[in-house]
Symmetry: C2
Subunit: 410 residues, 2 copies
Amino acid sequence: MRCTVLTVGTEILFGSIVNTNSVYISQQLQELGIDVMYHMSVGDNPARLKEMLAHIYTDCDMIITTGGLGPTQDDLTKEMICEYFGERNVPFPEEMAKLEALFAKSERKMTENNRKQAFLPEHAVVLPNANGTAPGFWLEKDGKLIISLPGPPSEMKPMFDNEVKPRLLARQDSVLWSRNIMTYDIGESALETELLEFIDGQTDPTLATYAGTFQCKLRISSKRKTLEEARAAVDAMTEKVVKKIPDNIYSVEGEDIAQVVFKMLKERGLKLSSCESCTGGMFAAAVTDISGASEVFDRSLVTYSEKAKMEELGVSPATLERYSAVSSQTALEMAEGLRRASGSDVCVSVTGYAGPLGGTEEDPVGTFYVGLWYDGKCAAKRFTTRRPTRERVRKNAVLQMFLQIYKTLK
Amino acid sequence: MRCTVLTVGTEILFGSIVNTNSVYISQQLQELGIDVMYHMSVGDNPARLKEMLAHIYTDCDMIITTGGLGPTQDDLTKEMICEYFGERNVPFPEEMAKLEALFAKSERKMTENNRKQAFLPEHAVVLPNANGTAPGFWLEKDGKLIISLPGPPSEMKPMFDNEVKPRLLARQDSVLWSRNIMTYDIGESALETELLEFIDGQTDPTLATYAGTFQCKLRISSKRKTLEEARAAVDAMTEKVVKKIPDNIYSVEGEDIAQVVFKMLKERGLKLSSCESCTGGMFAAAVTDISGASEVFDRSLVTYSEKAKMEELGVSPATLERYSAVSSQTALEMAEGLRRASGSDVCVSVTGYAGPLGGTEEDPVGTFYVGLWYDGKCAAKRFTTRRPTRERVRKNAVLQMFLQIYKTLK
């Protein structure tokens, strides 16, 4: 199948919103093995909308549109599809009843415009909208497939997942199953080299690598007749991959490192505290981003100044003087001081040069030290950062703090 | 002028990257008063690329392309533009010399492919690339304007700003000047209502509102014969706006609230510390995101547990028992305790229900209290959050912490 993704809305052409709908739909279609030939965006303009449809019509056998299904005069996607494909735009009684019930409940007055949302191309299948008032639709006509979805991502994405994807899979007579393998301490090209025997010439399951910031994701997908077969194929390949790079995987369930560490701590009933200098609270913010963090997380002492490091953590003036605030010794004393202050089972510390100013010849901007107290032992480790912008150094430091905990508890 | 933005690259169609180039270019063109009619994306495919050019050619008088200017066989944008517009693709000696010098310096071998980057349409004007090896170009042909830019945003954006924008402005015989007014405590529709007299029927300067998360930005732009005239027009309108809503503006220079507060503190030589519960370090992370934060920021005590609140800040068990950890009283005691611990001039605290679990009947999820100690006085204030997802509550709390400091120091 050759598909075009047509996103409708003047706000896209103004650059007022980022077109994430095209990204989401394209990712999903790629997994389904459907080729995306074009992304197109037009404003709420009838002539240009029809022009685009005409173009797509000659070149693709499938169109997915988002946007322009709302109640206002501006919303024209449905009307233009009807005109182009010679469909009548007719009221769907069930949708009208739903809409009327909704308005009755909210005590808002239902206008003629609102009724427009329950009109659909006469041969269309309704795609219900669980998160908004505009239903989508699925229309097969003249050998073409037209799928129309609402514009807001919060409505479009669940509609795609729950209504569109199963129908596309049903047409394909196959089921897709994927798994995200989260790796660490290995770059994208090294990852590809390690797994070459599984990637090269492999048609199912397929392996694809995605480079993130300082870490890579590996996606294993299989498309088979049944879900059981697809799952079994993905699981068998996952086992091979884990065997090949056992020390570079922290999750085979697509969880990020903060979640993995949170679960480890929770399962073992361990309390965590942190003390942060260059990350300035980002580590704590990442931990507390998880709902339920209070079950494992006690405190973070963001000791940005040397004064705070001495007062809150008891780092000795002599250490700061002799080794500086960015040193293995300071990271160790921070972690030890945190243990004394909090009594937490796992105490992690970080100090470094986030830049753009600062740094020394031996420890340039991008260098940081992570200290970790656990089970009576305390150790510190030095890290550097490639292309050390302030943002990248801080992100890398947060990642390495989590990884140090993960490696120590593993 | 009617323009199409054509972004070239298979990675766009795969959904592997978000198409921020289209957003950036569209925003810039809108300011210049150039209408964007379409966004289109195609892969690195010669036939479809030419098809798109043919379509645009009939409908627009201007095309901006990004991507496909690199050295590999895949990179075809230049070649297809030449074919379509009947231009010869010829070596530009100056560009070739630059390229050769670059390779000589880096000691990498220059291949025939690399030389391809110094070939351009014979009638093109070179747009130098200060951040990469592929030059862009500006071509006027058959009454159409074609502008080709490289794909990486780090190369494309400066090239647009420094090479394309001035040339487009020169054609327009006018200069654009804009100012971003940052507002607070006012929603987008209230803002529009307040400023209606300036917005309605106003052709220059123009006022546009942009809704962000819990705050709105107002952009005032003027396009005049000279920069002085445009600046004067924007400044005169800015004065009127400030007079109209004096208590809803924290910056007329487009700075965010963290920067504004940072500068206030720095100018007055004041030290800031924070203690955070529901924001879990996000406030400190926002402050320390600013390079040079150490000049004003001392520490943040992220006291997530009740134990930490008592141990680090001396919040009394009786207060936690009687009023709970999320209360005006706890926020006050946190700020007072932080003052005792840090001695900082400004001590801000926050405690709240970020959700999704927790909250009480009187203080549902989304409620938080901000405490502030300054100049011997301590006060706490209650806030609520509309549509309180965990992320929105925490963002709102960080914003209100900054605003409380701003309002107190103003």
